[in-house]
C-alpha cells in the first residue's frame, strides 16, 4: 500500500526533476526526448511483466475452468512457468523462410508491438499517474489499435505461407468489420459525457458509472474488443486447428514473442479502456470512502475485465468465418445504432 503511494510520489519526482532541468540550460527538445525514452522504457517493461502475469493467469484460469491444475512444476504453484517459457523463447533460433519478403517479415512484429506501447501513453492510471493528457485520448487509442492490425496482415503476407496468408486475410476482414462495431459501441458514452478526454470521461462517472446507463454499449464494447484483439471465440486469425498458427506460423524466437507481447498488451489496453469508459476508471465504487489508492481500483477493474475475457475464451467454441462476419454486420452494428438512437432519445426526453 505504502509502496503504491510512493509510486505516485515517484512519478511526481520524475516530473519535478524534468521541470527543474530546464533551469540548467538543457535544451527543451533534449528533455522531451529523454522523458519520452524513459516513459517508453517504463511502458515496455510494464507490458513485458504484465504479459508474464497474464499468460500465467490465462493458464491457471483455463486449468480452473477445465478442472485441471495447470503449470505446477516451476516455482511454487508453477508461478515461474512463464518466466521459464520466456527464457526458452529468447534462446530459440530466429528463422526467416527462404521465400519470405525479408524486410516486411522483419518489420511486422515491430508494427504490431510499437502501437501497443503508444496506446499506454493515453491511459489514465490514477489522478496523478498518466503520461499525457490527450484531448482526444479515446480516438488516439482507437487509432493506435488500427495501426497494430497492419502488422498482423503484413506478417501473414510476408511469410510466403498459405496458412499465414489465410490468417492475414481473415484478420483484414475481421478487423475492418469489428472496428465499426467497436467505435459505434462507445458513441453512447461520448454522447453522455460530451468529451473524448479519458480524464473527463472518468470525472463524469463520479456519481454513477456508465455501465448503468449504457449496459448495451458495455456488452457491445466487450464483444467487439475481444474480436479486435483476436481472442477466442473470435480468433479465426490464428485458429490452430484450421490454419496451423495463422499469421505467426513462420515466426519464431523473439519475433514470435513480440506478437505475443503485442496481443497481451492490446488485451490489457482493451480492458483498461473498458474500465475507463464503463466502470469509472480509477474511482472507487460510488458511495465507498476512498481508502484504497486509485491505482489499485483501476488495476482491479482492469484485471476483472481481463478475467472475463479469459473466461469467455475458455467457455465458448470458436465461431466460423462466415458466422463471424455476419455476427458483426448483421447483429453488432445494428445494435450499436440502436444504442446510439436510444441514448439520444432518452437524452432528448430528459433534457
Amino acid at each position: 500500500m505504502e509502496l503504491l503511494y510512493n509510486t505516485e510520489r515517484l512519478v511526481e519526482i520524475i516530473g519535478d526533476f524534468l521541470q527543474s532541468c530546464k533551469g540548467y540550460g538543457i535544451p527543451e527538445w533534449v528533455l522531451t526526448l529523454g522523458g519520452g525514452v524513459v516513459v517508453a522504457v517504463i511502458i515496455a517493461g510494464f507490458i513485458a511483466v504484465n504479459t508474464l502475469i497474464l499468460v500465467l493467469a490465462e493458464r491457471k484460469v483455463s486449468a480452473f475452468i477445465q478442472d485441471r491444475l495447470g503449470p505446477m512444476r516451476v516455482g511454487p504453484w508453477g508461478c515461474l512457468q512463464t518466466v521459464a517459457d520466456a527464457l526458452k523463447l529468447l534462446q530459440k533460433e530466429d528463422i526467416t523462410p527462404k521465400k519470405a519478403d525479408r524486410l516486411i517479415f522483419f518489420l511486422s512484429p515491430i508494427i504490431v508491438f510499437a502501437p501497443a506501447v503508444m496506446a499506454y501513453v493515453a491511459i489514465s492510471w490514477s489522478p496523478k499517474i498518466r503520461v499525457a493528457d490527450i484531448n482526444l485520448g479515446l480516438l488516439y487509442i482507437f487509432a493506435t489499435g488500427s495501426l497494430g492490425t497492419l502488422g498482423i496482415i503484413l506478417a501473414g503476407w510476408s511469410s510466403a505461407n498459405k496458412w499465414s496468408l489465410l490468417g492475414g486475410m481473415r484478420s483484414a476482414a475481421q478487423i475492418i468489420s469489428y472496428e465499426v462495431a467497436l467505435i459505434l459501441s462507445v458513441i453512447g458514452v461520448i454522447m453522455l459525457s460530451g468529451s473524448l478526454n479519458l480524464e473527463n470521461l472518468i470525472s463524469c462517472q463520479k456519481d454513477c458509472w456508465y455501465i448503468v446507463y449504457q449496459p448495451l454499449g458495455f456488452l457491445l464494447f466487450l464483444v467487439s474488443a475481444i474480436a479486435e484483439t483476436n481472442r477466442a471465440p473470435f480468433d479465426i486469425v490464428e485458429a490452430e486447428q484450421e490454419l496451423v498458427g495463422g499469421f505467426h506460423t513462420e515466426y519464431s524466437a523473439m519475433k514470435f514473442a513480440m506478437f505475443f507481447l503485442g496481443e497481451y498488451a492490446s488485451v490489457f489496453i482493451a480492458s483498461a479502456l473498458c474500465a475507463t469508459l464503463f466502470l469509472g476508471g480509477w474511482q472507487p465504487v460510488p458511495g465507498l470512502p476512498a481508502v484504497v489508492p486509485p491505482i489499485i481500483w483501476f488495476l482491479a477493474k482492469c484485471y476483472l475485465i481481463v478475467f472475463i475475457i479469459m473466461w469467455i475464451r475458455w467457455t465458448y467454441p470458436r465461431i466460423r468465418v462466415d458466422q463471424l462476419m455476419g455476427f458483426s454486420w448483421k447483429f453488432l452494428i445494428p445494435l450499436g445504432f440502436l444504442n446510439i438512437g436510444l441514448t439520444g432519445f432518452i437524452m432528448a426526453i430528459r433534457g
Binding site: 488516439y140 482507437f142 503484413l154
Partner: protein, 160 residues
C-alpha cells in the same frame, strides 16, 4: 516545433518518393502507410488533432487494409513489365513544370506565420451540422453509393 516539422516533412517526402518508385506493391503500400502517418503528424502539428487521428483511423485502419486485402486475393496485381522510359521522362518534365509554376506563385505571396489555433471537436461538429449540412449529407450518400457499388462490381456473377 521546427524540428518536428522538418522530421515529419522529410519522412513524408521520402515515403512519397518510395510510393511512386518502389517495384514491390506491398512495400509501396507500406510506404504509403508511413506517408499517411507523417501527414497525420503534420495535422497534429497544425493543431488539427481530430483530423490527424481520423486520418490514421480511416486511412491506415481502412484504406491500407483494403489495399493489402486485395493484393492477397490475387497475384495478378503485381507489375510485370518495365516502366516506360518515355513515360518517365514526360512525367519528370511535366512535374517540374508544374512545381516551378506553383513555387513562382508562392514567391509572390508574403510569408504568413501560423497562429496558434485550437478548434475543438465540438466546434467542428457544430460547423459540420449547420454550415456544411448539405455537403455532409452528400458525402454520407457518397459513402453509401461507394459501399454498394464496390459490392456490386466485385461480386461474382452467379447465373452464368
Amino acid at each position: 516545433m521546427e524540428i518536428a516539422f522538418y522530421i515529419l516533412a522529410g519522412m513524408a517526402v521520402t515515403s512519397a518518393i518510395l510510393v511512386v518508385s518502389l517495384k514491390n506493391l506491398v512495400r509501396a503500400i507500406l510506404a504509403l502507410a508511413s506517408l499517411f502517418l507523417s501527414i497525420a503528424g503534420l495535422y497534429i502539428l497544425l493543431s488539427a488533432e481530430f483530423l490527424g487521428l481520423v486520418q490514421i483511423l480511416v486511412y491506415i485502419g481502412g484504406v491500407i487494409l483494403l489495399f493489402l486485402f486485395l493484393i492477397m486475393l490475387t497475384e495478378n496485381l503485381f507489375e510485370k513489365n518495365k516502366v516506360n522510359l518515355f513515360q518517365r521522362i514526360t512525367g519528370v518534365g511535366l512535374v517540374l513544370l508544374l512545381f516551378s509554376i506553383i513555387i513562382s506563385i508562392f514567391m509572390k505571396q508574403p510569408f504568413q506565420a501560423i497562429p496558434k489555433t485550437d478548434y475543438s471537436i465540438q466546434e467542428l461538429g457544430k460547423h459540420l451540422l449547420t454550415d456544411y449540412l448539405v455537403p455532409f449529407e452528400v458525402v454520407s450518400l457518397l459513402l453509401l453509393v461507394a459501399l454498394i457499388g464496390a459490392i456490386v462490381i466485385a461480386k461474382k456473377e452467379e447465373n452464368k
